[in-house]
């Protein structure tokens, strides 16, 4: 670290004359946390559009019964890639982008602890994404197995599956390096006086998330490697005829997969925990219990994986255990929701775009939490497992949860990042369009699931038609609304009004109180003193 800032000490930062290569090479070679954060965010937005396009194909096919737009093989490939791209390409990198931008600024550090590794962890992503998208064009196409890659179906697939496996390996490496970087930065580069329990909640959530990632990404790598060797090297991990067990894959996958849910959700909690106090003009209620709640959720997330497998034929005792353990997660999650509402209680509230998205998050994520509670009850889940109810549930958590939180974060920090204010009216339009269309897509899917429509089917019985139409119209509206977001961001960068150092009255973390707008290239050259 000292080498990095030592080199730049000769330059005058206040006037922005520091050396860095221009053009494309600036971005290829950069070790700066802000550049890398920006690249993560743009990468994730591009992936969001790619994955979103796939969702449009899915919704177009499901607009009416019958096969019209694509054939069943392509449909299955779309559901698989949509899931993988959104989870690994869009949501996860978006929050790593936030981590890069904000953690050094919020703990009073000049940059991340390992800037070169930081560069490497970003630049692994584009090749991985390329492999994923490329799989569509190889013989046999992309895997048509769903993002869960269940064996033995995934063992049957064409070479697109191998590309996907390698993509996952690369993405996993990227995540692990990024996480090690984040943990090291948080534990070692905090400014004097910035004790752990004084860190902004966003930093706390990333510390915990990074540990989750380090713990479970190798597990996923193991699972897909076992598929790879089953496919090509004669092993029988998942083949009963050779002494293996297909359900073993599900255990390994969900041991990764459930913590993964929280890898996505916990940083979202962090962003919202910054935004809500700022627009309530009141400190976060129950900071300590919020930290403990996140930690409890993280620990519990390792102990509940088989609630994704109630129909796989677990022993009765296992069904009971996983039901109880899963229900227990409602307790710390409830604590978080109560604390957020208590933060708003008797505040002095204003409703700029970041706050709207944060409240949208709070409202809809909680709804997704409740459907999660419904699904945790084993006998009820038997009916709802692998139906559209589950699809609705996890999109409430992933889209209205993680994505809305990411939007809240972008609008909140955009002035600090770019130096310019976004257009508030357009921002509000973006929120309301997203909110309405989101519910149009996914609220009706609860009813589809209850009435018995399985997920991952390219065609359906006519009684499901009207809800599917509503859902599809909502999807097209939601997709188009995101182009408005792109316009708003570009307009802010090019021609937004100049933003003050602290555009939000109630914001109180270091990036607002101690750094000018836009934030300087090397955040804190001399650490601030935190009281």
């Amino acid at each position: 670290m000292s080498a990095v800032i030592g080199h730049d000490h000769d330059h005058d930062h206040a006037h922005g004359h520091e050396y860095h290569p221009g053009g494309l090479m600036r971005w290829v070679k950069t070790t700066n946390h802000k550049d890398i954060g920006t690249m993560y965010l743009w990468f994730s937005f591009v992936m969001f559009l790619v994955g979103g396009f796939m969702a449009m194909v899915i919704r177009a096919e499901l607009f009416v019964p019958g096969m019209q737009v694509v054939n069943p093989e392509i449909f299955n490939q779309m559901t698989t890639l949509h899931g993988l791209i959104m989870v690994f390409g869009a949501i996860m990198p978006a929050f790593v982008g936030f981590a890069n931008w904000l953690i050094p600024m919020q703990i009073g550090a000049p940059d991340m602890a390992f800037p070169r590794m930081n560069n490497w962890s970003f630049w692994l992503l584009p090749p991985a994404a390329t492999l994923l998208v490329l799989s569509l064009f190889v013989p046999g196409g992309a895997p048509g197995v769903g993002w869960t890659l269940y064996a033995p179906l995934s063992v049957q697939q064409g070479m697109g599956m191998d590309l996907t496996i390698f993509a996952i390996h690369i993405l996993g490496m990227s995540s692990i390096m990024g996480s090690i970087n984040i943990v090291t930065t948080i534990l070692n580069l905090r400014a004097p006086g910035m004790t752990l329990m004084k860190m902004p909640l966003f930093v706390w959530t990333w510390l915990i998330t990074a540990y989750l990632l380090i713990a479970v990404m190798p597990v996923l790598a193991g699972a897909v490697t076992m598929i790879l060797t089953d496919r090509h090297f004669g092993t029988h991990f998942f083949n009963a005829a050779g002494g293996g067990d297909p359900v073993l894959f599900q255990h390994i996958f969900w041991f990764f997969g459930h913590p993964e849910v929280y890898i996505i959700a916990i940083p979202a909690f962090g962003v919202v925990s910054q935004v809500i106090p700022a627009f309530s003009r009141k400190p976060l209620f129950g900071y300590t219990s919020m930290v403990y709640a996140v930690a409890s959720i993280a620990i519990l997330s390792f102990l509940v994986w088989a609630h994704h497998m109630y129909t796989a034929g677990l022993p009765t005792t296992a069904q009971l255990y996983y039901m109880y353990a899963t229900m227990l997660i409602a307790v710390p999650t409830g604590v978080k929701v109560f604390n957020w509402v208590a933060t708003m209680w008797k505040g002095s509230l204003t409703f700029e775009t970041p706050m709207l998205f944060a409240m949208g998050f709070l409202f809809l994520f909680t709804l997704g939490g409740f459907t999660g509670l419904v699904l945790s009850v084993t006998p009820v889940d038997i009916q709802l497992h692998d139906t559209y109810y589950v699809v609705a549930h996890f999109h409430y958590v992933m889209v209205a949860g993680a994505l809305f939180s990411a939007f809240a974060g972008v609008y909140f920090w955009l002035p600090k990042w770019t130096g310019n204010m976004y257009n508030e009216t357009l921002g509000k339009w973006h929120f309301w369009l997203s909110f309405i269309f989101f519910n149009m897509i996914f609220f009706v899917q609860h009813f589809l699931g209850l009435a018995g429509m399985p997920r991952r089917i390219p065609d359906y019985a006519p009684q499901f038609t009207d809800f599917n139409m509503i859902s599809s119209i909502g999807a097209f509206g939601f997709g188009l609304s995101q182009l408005l977001f792109l316009y708003i961001v570009l307009k802010t960068i090019r021609s937004g009004e100049k933003a003050p150092q602290k555009p939000w009255e109630g914001a109180d973390s270091l990036e607002w109180t101690h750094l000018p707008t836009p934030a300087p290239y090397h955040s804190f050259e001399t650490p601030p003193v935190v009281k």
Binding site: R281, T311, L367, L373, I382, Q383, P454, G506
Partner: protein, 285 residues
């Protein structure tokens, strides 16, 4: 009594949310399908209970939030208070939800235990998932079902014509939920199904029975149901199994035991004739 009450509330609760919509009259559209086994009814009631608990908490929490949104906004001149900690309320909102969960876990546990108790069946049927159809084999009947259908095999394939799927013909009433040979079971008897698969994972799901069980190649799982009235019940494969995953429905016809025996006898004769014909054909080669 409480159960029937819950059942009524459940049937009413969801449509009540959207009274303005005329569709609400069709209850099955807004809620779980009408249950036709004890297990499915337990699932239905359990869902209603959990949903009501969730709705009450939801209204409470967001009632607070919207109250704050209206009364504690800056534009009406509300000054921010400074409190940001209160150990008592933290303990309350940790402990109270915990007890609510215990209240939910109790009936849920009873549901699980009942659902998993496949002991002493009246008839056992083996279900095999194939890419992409279902195979049924009547293994063994007990008591008055003893020997009635033993050894019979059925393959059950989607019977919706491709023209309907590709829009060249109007779609029929049971589009995608119809098969050539449905599974036939006796009403009022405990039917145990042993479920397995031939190639990849499938899942055998009949919503009205409350049975959804993955079919795992190389392993056998079981489930059971006792149908409460004669009728035709439809479900679908619920685990992605490849390109025709959406096209392998499950149709179960429940008959009174007497009619079931008649059906079995007739079907056995037909099978024997078909088998005999096949054997003759094989011999002729």
């Amino acid at each position: 009594m409480i159960k029937t009450m819950l059942h009524k509330i459940g049937a009413g609760a969801l449509p009540m949310l959207v009274p303005a919509l005329a569709w609400a009259e069709d209850k099955a559209k807004w809620n779980l399908q009408e249950p036709h086994t004890e297990v499915a009814r337990q699932m239905y009631d359990l869902h209603t209970v959990v949903l009501i608990i969730c709705l009450v908490i939801f209204v409470g929490v967001f009632g607070m939030m919207f109250y704050a949104v209206i009364k504690h906004r800056k534009s009406v001149g509300h000054q921010a208070a400074h409190f940001h900690e209160n150990t008592t309320v933290e303990i309350i909102w940790t402990v109270v939800p915990f007890f609510i969960l215990i209240g939910m876990a109790w009936p849920a546990t009873q549901g699980v235990l009942n659902m998993r108790d496949a002991s002493s069946p009246d008839i056992t049927i083996k279900v095999t998932g194939y890419q992409w159809k279902w195979g049924y084999e009547y293994l063994k009947g007990e008591g008055d079902l003893s020997g009635v259908a033993d050894g019979m095999q059925i393959y059950s394939t989607l019977s919706t014509p491709r023209d309907q799927i590709y829009g060249k013909a109007p779609k029929g009433e049971h589009y995608l939920l119809e098969v050539d040979n449905p599974l036939v079971v006796p009403v009022g008897k405990k039917v145990r199904v042993l479920i397995t698969a031939n190639d990849v994972l499938h899942a055998w799901w009949v919503p009205a029975f409350g049975v959804k069980q993955d079919a795992v190649p190389g392993f056998i799982r079981d489930a059971w149901f006792r149908v409460d009235k004669p009728g035709t019940f439809r479900g679908q494969c619920a685990e992605l199994c490849g390109k025709e995953h959406g096209f392998m429905p499950i149709v179960v016809v429940a008959l009174e035991p007497k009619e079931f025996a008649d059906w079995a006898a007739k079907n056995k004769v037909a099978l024997a004739a078909a088998g005999g014909a096949a054997a003759t054909a094989a011999a002729a080669k």
